[in-house]
């Protein structure tokens, strides 16, 4: 049986597709976007995270790390010594069956609202066998959506597409070099998958995280709109950058140091899309 690594399961996610949804976050991502808001989703390996809310700063967790490894770090065993129970492992192994059983418990509510499950990440397409097996097991059980960067081989992308009902597809940057610089990979395969998706007739929504000075230029947004029009896409969702983005870095022991100035409000330019006949929704 296939196993997957899940770093979080969120009930009642309201912006991850139609209706009330449960979002399953699969761990590991081939991209490294400078503005990534779930740093705990980047690595494929399980890691320990500490919620900052309510922390007594007693350092019991760190002391445990020193005791066991000689390093001032949070280790697996730290979870059991936190008096506030604030430490958890991000990255639990799930079998397809375990995950499906869990999701089915909420199926009635999800279905009644016209919702279902959304697989997100990290990059869900990076665990293709597990994802596909889950999607097949949920066929006819609930509506299945995929939230993706689009970064995967077209063969895998097409296979996943066949077994799902809806896509939320990010178009971050049109310039391949800039994409490489800010996201760690070129966008060639992303654009190719986008064309496949648009041509398939599958229901999907295009999303753009609008990052100040990075991709909110007229040049990039015009190129995006033109590309969408070329693929006959008529709707886009803009997700303006929020300053809270960096809030999860501390709890994973990472530093958030974007090169762009996050105090500048992102420029949304809805008119650019409207000029291309694309309806804009801002989240």
């Amino acid at each position: 049986m296939e196993k997957g690594i899940v770093f979080s399961i969120e009930e009642f996610s309201v912006y991850d597709g139609p209706g009330i949804r449960t979002t399953v976050f699969l761990k590991g991502c081939p991209l490294h976007c400078m503005w990534c808001h779930s740093p705990e989703g980047q690595s494929f390996a399980p890691e320990m995270i500490r919620s900052p809310n309510g922390c007594l700063h007693c350092d019991a967790c760190i002391k445990k790390g020193i005791e066991l490894t000689g390093q001032p770090q949070i280790v697996k065993e730290s979870a059991a010594v936190c008096p506030r129970n604030l430490i958890r492992q991000a990255g639990d192994e799930y079998s397809v069956e375990e995950l499906v059983v869990k999701l089915k418990k909420n199926a009635a509510i999800l279905n009644a609202s016209g919702g279902g499950v959304t697989f997100s990440g990290g990059e869900p397409l990076r665990q293709p066998r597990f994802l596909n097996a889950c999607l097949k097991a949920l066929d006819g059980v609930m509506h299945r959506a995929i939230q993706t960067s689009g970064f995967s081989s077209p063969r895998i992308f097409s296979e996943i597409m066949k077994n799902s009902d809806y896509f939320l597809f990010d178009l971050k940057l049109m310039d391949p070099n800039k994409h490489l610089y800010y996201c760690g990979q070129s966008n060639a395969v992303i654009l190719e998958n986008y064309r496949i998706l648009a041509a398939s007739g599958k229901e999907f929504i295009t999303r753009i995280p609008v990052i100040p000075t990075v991709n909110d230029t007229e040049e990039n947004l015009t190129a995006t709109a033109a590309f969408m029009k070329e693929n006959q896409v008529k709707k886009v969702e803009l997700l303006p950058y929020h300053k809270l983005t960096g809030s999860k870095y501390a709890m994973t022991g990472r530093k958030y140091a974007p090169e762009f100035d996050e105090t500048i409000p992102p420029q949304l330019h809805p008119e650019i899309f409207e000029n291309y006949g694309i309806e804009v929704n801002v989240l």
């Binding site: 309201v14 059991a80 008096p83 609202s113």
Partner: protein, 675 residues
């Protein structure tokens, strides 16, 4: 919002009106000739003397008046130097509509009719009411004169007829209501709820529409009235500022299942949305038949962050109340008390909050006494259930000792008293029941689940080790505490613990429900906690769910605040597994959702769908709060920046910055694992 509304709102917000008051509280002892404990003399003298000293306070174009001049009630000192008990009845929805529709003249006629054949006791009672009516009439006349002098034309005009004549217009009905509630408070009554305003005021609304008034004009009147409810609430609050009992219940269904949500109900919601004030506190009666648009609309209120509306499920409440022993018509007409206790308006003197079953404490005590002897978990549960039953007996005994001072004016507004010539404190109302809260059901079930899992199933925890850890408040046992905190918790849709909670509720309600009280009424078990989730919790030592000593429970029917929740879908399923018709005294599930879900209409609609899901699952009551942890923390640090930040506390909404820090902290703590 019209100019008049803005102006009245400004007067309220400036709080300058409070500077016009005097302290009051003078001693009426020398005036009392024939002191009789719980008798009628004290209430009458106190009311007369208080009203006599009230001075009309009116602001520019004041549409309602009847603001309090004296802050304190008169005092009465007994011969032994003790001050006489001043707490009267509360959590009652009086029959305002009857008196508003009659006028004092007809009430007096009715009383004079009864006096023809009254005995001595009855005669005293009737004269006490007449004395109240005379005092109010006198003050109303002084208000009329002052209103005329100051150019408050509408009010002066209304007071030429009121309160002697019945109200005719919607505005007059609201003025009459103001006179009645003002008078009730001068009597010392607290937590007089507004009840089904949209039903009993509907004839006046219709009258105005038929005589050519527009909806906008009525909205203005309604908004002015709503603003007036927010004056003087600093004088008559309960435990905390904001806890003043002005709950309004909208909608519901009639006996044929038709919706009673009417144009006035909608207007009330509109007014509340526009004004963003903590009073009146909006409750919405709903059920499976409630149309989705109404949930959508109500969610706009939740979005505002006032904690309104609180949802009550007719499909559960009505059959639950009937099963307890209320007549069907009365059950259909239910309202809620100051917080959420289901009460019957007009004809009851129920005390729905007379006692509290402190589940974590009672169960913790049973665990300490019997864990060593219990060979199996089932055996332990038998001991626990016995402890619940024994506590019920203690509760019944304690409640039987409570007494009330006579409250003749409120009795006028409770059906049955006038006809019988008897004060409601002599049980002249149709219903005289007792309600018992059930605080901390979730942490109590969690504690038992942890024991079931670690002590009996995995056998990884020794009984004496657990007891020692509890005695030490987990000092030196942090690994064990952590393990207990990670056992199955109610709220995560896990039958392992939810089944235990159901057993506790079944035992509590099965034993207590319908037991007779000493007033001819019966007992009703509930799921509420009122302030006890803080107050009683402060006396409860460490518990086996991993909770430290003296730490609070969740408010009312909610997960423990230390529970890592899977999310709201699991929570609503956990808290609807029990047949809630069987435990219907009241006490809502409280759900916090992060305010980011309200970013657009799509998110709002999904929140509304969540509410529907809860109702369809058979939940009995729901409080839904929109919360942003960062805002709350900032408000705690910089209260001056957030004078109007409103939060839901335990059964009512209050200004965050006016709450005691422990209640502020509880709300912040609730957001730690919230979604």
């Amino acid at each position: 919002m019209t100019e008049a509304v803005k102006q009245y709102l400004k007067i309220l917000r400036d709080k300058e009106y409070r500077t016009k008051r005097v302290e009051g509280g003078f001693d009426i002892s020398p005036l009392v000739e024939n002191y009789e404990k719980h008798g009628l003399e004290i209430p009458v003298i106190r009311f007369q003397e208080m009203i006599k000293r009230e001075i009309p306070i009116l602001f520019e174009n004041d549409p309602f008046g009847f603001h309090r001049y004296q802050k304190k009630m008169p005092t009465f000192v007994l011969k032994n130097g003790k001050e006489s008990w001043r707490v009267l009845a509360g959590n009652i929805t009086p029959n305002y509509a009857r008196v508003i529709g009659q006028g004092f003249d007809r009430v007096r006629d009715e009383i004079h009719g009864y006096l023809q054949s009254a005995d001595e006791e009855q005669t005293k009672f009737y004269h006490a009411i007449l004395a109240h009516l005379d005092a109010i009439t006198d003050l109303a006349e002084r208000y009329r004169a002052e209103a005329e002098k100051q150019g408050c034309k509408a009010l002066a005009d209304a007071l030429t007829r009121l309160p002697a004549q019945p109200a005719v217009t919607f505005y007059e009905a609201c003025v009459f209501f103001t006179i009645l509630t003002y008078s009730l408070r001068v009597c010392g009554n607290q937590h007089m709820t507004i009840g089904r305003f949209d039903q009993y005021m509907y004839p006046y609304y219709q009258h105005d529409i038929q005589s050519g008034k527009t909806e906008e004009e009525l909205l203005e009147t309604l908004e002015l009235f709503f603003i007036s409810l927010n004056f003087d609430t600093d004088i008559y609050h309960g435990i905390q500022q904001g806890d003043n009992g002005q709950s309004m219940v909208l909608g519901g269904f009639d006996r044929d299942g038709n919706s009673m949500f009417n144009e006035l109900s909608k207007l009330c919601m509109e007014a509340s949305l526009e004004l963003k004030l903590i009073d009146p506190k909006i409750n919405l009666r709903c059920g499976k038949k409630t149309p989705q648009w109404l949930f959508d609309y109500a969610t706009k209120m939740t979005k505002q962050g006032l904690g309104f509306p609180q949802y009550c499920n007719d499909d559960i409440a009505v059959p639950g109340l009937v099963a307890l022993g209320y007549d069907y018509e009365d059950a259909l007409n239910y309202t809620v008390a100051a917080c959420w206790e289901y009460i019957i308006p007009n004809c009851s003197f129920d005390v729905p909050n007379i006692q509290t079953m402190d589940f974590p404490f009672v169960i913790n005590r049973a665990i300490h006494a019997h864990l060593a002897d219990a060979k199996t978990f089932d055996e332990l549960m038998q001991f626990v259930k016995q402890a619940v039953r024994e506590e019920c007996d203690v509760i019944i005994d304690r409640a039987n000792n409570s007494r009330h001072v006579s409250i003749p004016f409120l009795s006028l507004l409770v059906d049955g008293c006038l006809e019988k010539g008897k004060d409601m404190t002599k049980w002249a109302a149709k219903y005289n029941c007792f309600g018992c809260h059930g605080a901390g059901i979730a942490p109590a079930a969690d504690a038992l689940a942890a024991i079931k899992s670690l002590v009996y199933e995995k056998q990884s925890l020794k009984k004496d080790e657990l007891l020692a850890a509890l005695d030490a408040d987990f000092k030196g046992y942090s690994a064990l505490q952590n393990e207990l905190l990670n056992c199955p918790k109610m709220g995560n849709n896990d039958d392992f613990v939810d089944d235990i909670a159901n057993e506790l509720m079944a035992e509590f309600s099965g034993y207590l429900n319908k037991k007779p009280n000493n007033r001819g009424g019966f007992w009703r078990a509930g799921t509420g906690s009122a302030m006890e989730y803080v107050r009683l919790a402060k006396k409860c030592p460490a518990t086996a769910d991993g909770r430290n000593a003296w730490e609070p429970y969740g408010s009312s029917f909610s997960p423990a605040i230390t529970t890592k929740l899977e999310g709201p879908l699991s929570v609503i399923q956990s808290f609807t597994k029990f047949d809630m018709t069987k435990i219907i005294n009241g006490g809502p599930l409280t759900l916090e959702v992060h305010d980011s879900v309200f970013r657009n209409e799509e998110g709002e609609k999904k929140v509304a769908q969540l509410v529907r899901a809860f109702i369809e699952l058979g939940g009995h009551q729901l409080q839904l709060n929109s919360i942003n942890r960062d805002t709350l923390l900032d408000a705690q640090a910089h209260p001056e920046k957030y004078p109007n930040l409103i939060v839901r506390v335990w059964g009512w909404s209050g200004y965050f910055c006016e709450l005691d820090p422990e209640y502020q902290n509880h709300i912040i703590k609730r957001t730690e694992f919230s979604v």
